[in-house]
């Protein structure tokens, strides 16, 4: 009984410590608002949020309810105009969750003494922590890396190729890097949390289900982030195949597209769509996904590539030799032609990616 009272008191203290600043800020701004008729829509939203904060803080202090506590926490982070997660609020929230679980374990005064083993107490303390910690680590990592990347990266401008400099200094590169890091860290932390939960509270039915499920247990070797692999492989083959298809074989089609459509379409969108198609093709050919079908698919792909090379080398020498090119295809000329085009298209793809993200509003 006494312990429960202490815990309830501790909960109130945590709530008061968390919501001290937001409560008084909100109260102050509510008391100092001018007449309702003079403030606009924005002011009305701010005013109602502040009133909500004040009321639910009082409610949370009186009842100790978790929802009454959550509402001002979320509303205050939005209304105070902070763009980052406040570490202190997160820590207090985790503490509150622990205390709440403990009071629920104690079952409010029904029984005078409830004895629990140390193991149960440990579980009661650790379970909310396991839920909170992965989110906390991911949030911390995100903010930390973002701050590092956006403030401290200095690249010597003179020593680099201008094309590479554009890629390195582009905000998109940073965003993609941070996203990849955060996703990887979150997945790892989630796995670790799953393992700890498995040891703290072993469940027979879940583990039997998992062990019987062959799809989850039989794992082939899968390297990290397959999509990066696909994009890089497609990037390698892209200029060659694009040149053979659009500059040699379908040159008339390309001329038609250039003359009859806007410049953006022919210069950026068609190559970009072609690149996406190539990435999907590489993914289709990836042998680990479907080991039985893979040899046949690879055979088709290599035959198609050979046919493409043969046809384009015939087409290249057709004006000089005519149909004699079927016997004497101009592989040499094709090589020279491809070498010229190799550098330009790679750069174009990156420009298009950059442009696309800018249009979508992902990057400033």
């Amino acid at each position: 009984m006494r312990l429960e009272l202490i815990l309830e008191g501790a909960k109130r203290v945590v709530i008061a410590a968390t919501l001290y600043t937001p409560f008084f800020t909100a109260l102050n701004s509510v008391l100092t608002t001018p007449q309702l008729t003079t403030i606009g829509l924005e002011g009305l939203v701010v005013l109602s949020t502040n009133i909500l904060i004040v009321f639910s803080t009082v409610l949370a202090l009186l009842t100790g309810n978790i929802f009454a506590y959550l509402i001002p926490v979320i509303a205050s982070t939005m209304s105070l105009g902070l763009s980052y997660l406040q570490v202190t609020i997160l820590v207090f929230f985790a503490t509150y969750l622990v205390l709440d679980t403990l009071t629920m374990v104690l079952r409010g005064g029904e029984v005078k003494y409830l004895r629990y083993s140390i193991k149960t107490w440990m579980r009661a303390i650790l379970t909310p922590l396991i839920i909170v910690i992965p989110v906390f680590i991911a949030a911390y990592f995100t903010t930390h890396t973002l701050v590092l990347l956006f403030t401290n990266t200095t690249i010597q401008q003179s020593s680099l190729n201008p094309n590479i400099l554009i890629i390195l200094t582009s905000p998109i590169t940073k965003i993609v890097l941070v996203l990849a890091c955060v996703v990887y860290v979150y997945l790892t932390v989630e796995r670790i949390a799953e393992i700890i939960t498995g040891f703290i509270k072993p469940s027979y039915s879940i583990s039997i289900n998992k062990l019987l499920e062959t799809k989850d247990i039989d794992v082939f070797y899968t390297p990290l982030s397959n999509w990066i692999l696909y994009v890089s492989v497609a990037f390698l083959f892209y200029p060659v195949i694009y040149t053979m298809v659009f500059d040699i074989l379908l040159v008339d089609v390309r001329e038609y597209i250039v003359t009859h459509t806007p410049e953006v379409f022919s210069k950026y969108i068609v190559p970009f769509l072609f690149f996406i198609l190539l990435v999907l093709l590489v993914r289709y050919l990836h042998t680990i996904i479907d080991p039985l079908e893979a040899p046949r698919r690879l055979l088709y792909a290599s035959l198609t590539l050979l046919l493409l090379i043969y046809a384009s080398s015939i087409k290249l020498v057709y004006p000089e030799k005519g149909w004699l090119g079927v016997i004497q295809p101009g592989f040499q000329e094709l090589g020279v032609f491809l070498g010229k085009k190799f550098v330009d298209y790679g750069y174009e793809v990156i420009t298009v990616l950059d442009l696309l993200f800018r249009i979508l509003g992902v990057a400033p």
């Binding site: 790892t188 796995r191 670790i192 799953e194 393992i195 498995g198 040891f199 072993p202 469940s203 027979y204 879940i206 583990s207 039997i208 998992k210 062990l211 247990i217 794992v219 070797y221 390297p223 990290l224």
Partner: protein
């Protein structure tokens, strides 16, 4: 009976293997940082790849060991 005995030893083996592989992966990740500092970019990236693969495999082993632990506990109780 003999089969049961073997089963009971499976969980510590998996746990030990998982921990060893995780330590190895952490060592490799530290090595990768050292290589990068000394300017061996290619070596460093390769070490990073090996380290991350080992890390994921160690997590997989530990996950398996939790499943085995749960099933073994149940069979011990019966």
């Amino acid at each position: 009976m003999k089969k049961l005995e073997v089963k009971r030893k499976l969980m510590p083996i998996l746990l030990l293997l998982g921990i060893i592989v995780m330590l190895l992966s952490l060592y490799l990740l530290l090595l990768a940082i050292g290589y990068m500092e000394r300017g061996y970019v290619g070596t460093s990236l390769l070490t990073l790849l090996v380290g991350f693969s080992l890390l994921s495999s160690s997590l997989y082993l530990l996950r398996l060991s939790t499943y085995v632990y749960a099933t073994e506990r149940k069979s011990e109780k019966e």
